[in-house]
C-alpha cells in the first residue's frame, strides 16, 4: 500500500479535478478551454489514482473502458462531422437549443467533436501513464546481465 497522504489527496483531489475537466470542456465552447485540455486534466486526475493506488487497482477500475476509449472518441468525432452531412456539408455546424430553468442552452456538433477529442486524449494519455507506471513497478529483468558486461 502506498503512503496514506497520497491516498487522501487522491480521495479529495481526483473528483475535483474531474469536475474541473468537465468545467473546462463546457467552457471551451466559446472561451479558452475545450476538449484537449479537459482530456489532459482528466488524465492528470487518473494519474493521481495511479500514484495512490497503483496501476493494477487503476486498471481494475477503468480497464475495460480504457482500451476502446480511443475508438469511441474517434467515432464520436466522426459522428459529429457526419451529422453536418444532413445540412449538406461534412463538418457543417448544427445546433439544437432547449430551455432549462429559464436559461437557453445550445448544444451543437462542435461540442460533440470536442467530446470526441477529449475521449481520445484521455484514452491515449491514461494508456501511456499506465504502461509507464507498470514498467516502473516491475524491476528490470536484465540488471544482472548488464553488470556482468565488460
Amino acid at each position: 500500500m502506498t503512503e496514506i497522504y497520497l491516498r487522501l489527496v487522491d480521495r479529495i483531489l481526483t473528483p475535483i479535478l474531474l469536475l474541473i475537466a468537465i468545467f473546462l470542456f463546457l467552457r471551451g465552447h466559446d472561451l479558452p478551454g475545450g476538449g484537449f485540455i479537459a482530456g489532459l486534466v482528466a488524465a492528470a486526475a487518473i494519474e493521481l489514482t495511479i500514484l495512490a493506488l497503483g496501476s493494477a487497482a487503476t486498471r481494475d477500475r477503468y480497464g475495460p473502458w480504457l482500451a476502446p476509449l480511443l475508438g469511441i472518441g474517434l467515432m464520436v468525432a466522426v459522428t459529429a462531422a457526419l451529422i453536418g452531412m444532413a445540412g449538406g456539408g461534412f463538418f457543417l455546424g448544427r445546433w439544437i437549443q432547449f430551455e432549462v430553468a429559464g436559461e437557453t442552452l445550445k448544444l451543437g456538433t462542435p461540442q460533440l467533436f470536442d467530446l470526441g477529442v477529449m475521449l481520445v486524449v484521455v484514452g491515449m494519455a491514461v494508456t501511456y501513464l499506465l504502461r509507464l507506471s507498470e514498467a516502473a513497478e516491475t524491476p528490470p529483468p536484465s540488471t544482472k546481465h548488464r553488470e556482468t558486461r565488460p
Binding site: A67, G71, L74, G93
Partner: protein, 532 residues
Amino acid sequence: MTPHPTVLILPVALPLFLGAFSLLFQSMAPDRRVALQRILAGLGLFANMAVAGFLLFWVLQRGPQAFQLGLWPAPFGITVYLDTLTALMLAMVGLLSLLIYPFALETIDPERARLGFFPMLLFLLMGANGAFITGDLFNLYVFYEVLLMASFVLLTLGGTPSQINGGIRYVVLNLMGSMMLLLGAGITYGTLGTLNMAHIAVRMAEAPYTVQAVIAGLLLVAFGAKAAAFPAFFWLPSSYHTPHPVVTALFSGVLTKVGVYSLFRVFPLFFPTLLATWQPLLLTVAGLTMVIGVLGAFAQPTIRRLLSFHIISQIGYMLMGLGVALSPSTYGVGFGLALAILFLIHNQLVKTALLLGGGAVELEMGTGKLSELGGLVHSRPLQATLFLVAAFALAGFPPTSGFIGKLGLLEVTFAAGQWPIAAVSVFVSLLTTMSMIRLWQSIFWGKPRLSPPPGVRAPGRALWTTTPSAILVALSLAIGVAAQPMLTLVQTAASQAIDRAGYVRTVNPELTEQDRSLPLGIQSQRSEKAGG
C-alpha cells in the same frame, strides 16, 4: 447524375470511420478482435478502391472539383480539391493497399495482428488520401503527421530491437521534415496571410522574391525529406528493411510518393517562375539522388536493403521530371510533369511488385541475405519470372512502363537542353540494370544453397503472395505495350496541375477578384518595381 460534392471527403472519412470502428473492440478476446479487424480492413480497402475509381471516372468526365468543409467559403474553411492528378494518386494508393491486403492476410503473424496491424493500415490510408486531396497547406501538414504516426506504428509493430532502432531514426528525421513544412506554412501565413492553396497561388505571384524563395526552399526541403531525396534520404535505408516485408512494400508505394506528389502539386501551383530559375538546383538534387541511391545499392547485403536504395535512386528520376516540368517541348508545356507523373505511377507498380516478391522469398526462406540465397528459380519459376520482369521494368527496358517513362523523360530533358542530367540518368539506368541483374542472379540463379525451413511454406500460400505481384507486373506491361491511353491520362493530369487559374476558379471564383493585396508590412512585387 451528379453526385453531391461531399463524396470528395470519402477517401478520408471512410478509412477514418472504419479504423475508429475497428478500435472499439479492444476489450474483446484477441482472436475474435483480429478476425473482426481483418474483415473491416478488407471492407475498407475495397470500398476505398471503389471510391477512388469512381472519383477518377468522375473527374475525367467533369473536370476538377472542390468542396469546402463545413461549407465555409474558401479561404476561410478547409478546401478539398480533386483533379486528375489527385484522383490518379488516390486510385494508385487504393490499388496498392488493396493488393497488399491478401499478402498481409496470409503472412502477417498473430502477434502483429493482435497489436493492431489492420486498423493501422486504414489510418495510413487515411493519412495518404488526406495529403493527396487537401487544398490547404496547414491541413497538408496535419495529414503528414497522421501518415507519420500511422507509419511509425506499422514500422515498429512487433518491437524487435532493429525495428526500434530503425523506427527512431525514421521518426526523428521525418519530424525534422515536418518541422520544415510547419515552418513553411507559418511563414506563408505570416507573409501572405492565408493558408488556402488557391489563395496562396493568387497571392504568391504578388509576393517579393525573398518571400517566394524562403517558402519554396522550406517546402522543397520538407517534401524532399519526405520523398527521400538527396541529402535527406538517410531515414529510408536505415528503417525500410526492419519491419514485416508487407509493410515495406506498402511504404515503398505510399510514403515517399506522397512527398513527390506534394512537390508536383505545390511547385507548379505556387512557384511556376521558380521552376525555371531553380532548374539547375532541382536537377542537381535529382542527379545526386539518382547516383547516390544506385551506388548505395551496390554495397547492400540483403534484398530489402538493396531495393530500398533503389527507391531513392528512382525518386531522382521523378525530381528530374519536376525540374523540366514546365520546360517547353514538342508536346507542349507541362509534358515534363506529365512524364514525371507517369514515372511515379510506374515506380509505384514496379517497386511494390519487387518488394512483394523479395518479401515473399524472405518470408519463405527465413532470410533475405544475398550470400545465403540462390537457385530459387528451380522451385519457384513463376516468382522468378515476375521478379525478372519487374527488375527490367525498374531498369527501363521495353516493353514495360519503365521504358516509356524513361524515354519520355530523356526526350524532355534533351528538348530543355539539359544534357548533363540526361547523361547522368542514362548512366544510372545502366547501373540499375547491373544491380538488378546481380540481385536476381543471387536470389534465383545458380545452385540452391539453402533449403527452406520446414513448416514455413504452407500449401496455397504462393497463390496469396504471388498474385498481387503478378497483377502489378501485368499492369506495368500493359502501360508499356499500350502507352497511349496512359499518356493521355497523365497529360490531362499535368495540364490540370499547371493550370493555376483553373485551380483558383474551381476552389472559389471570387478569390482572384478579391483584394489581392498582401498583409501590412509585406511590400508587394508590383510596388517594389514601381518604387525602384
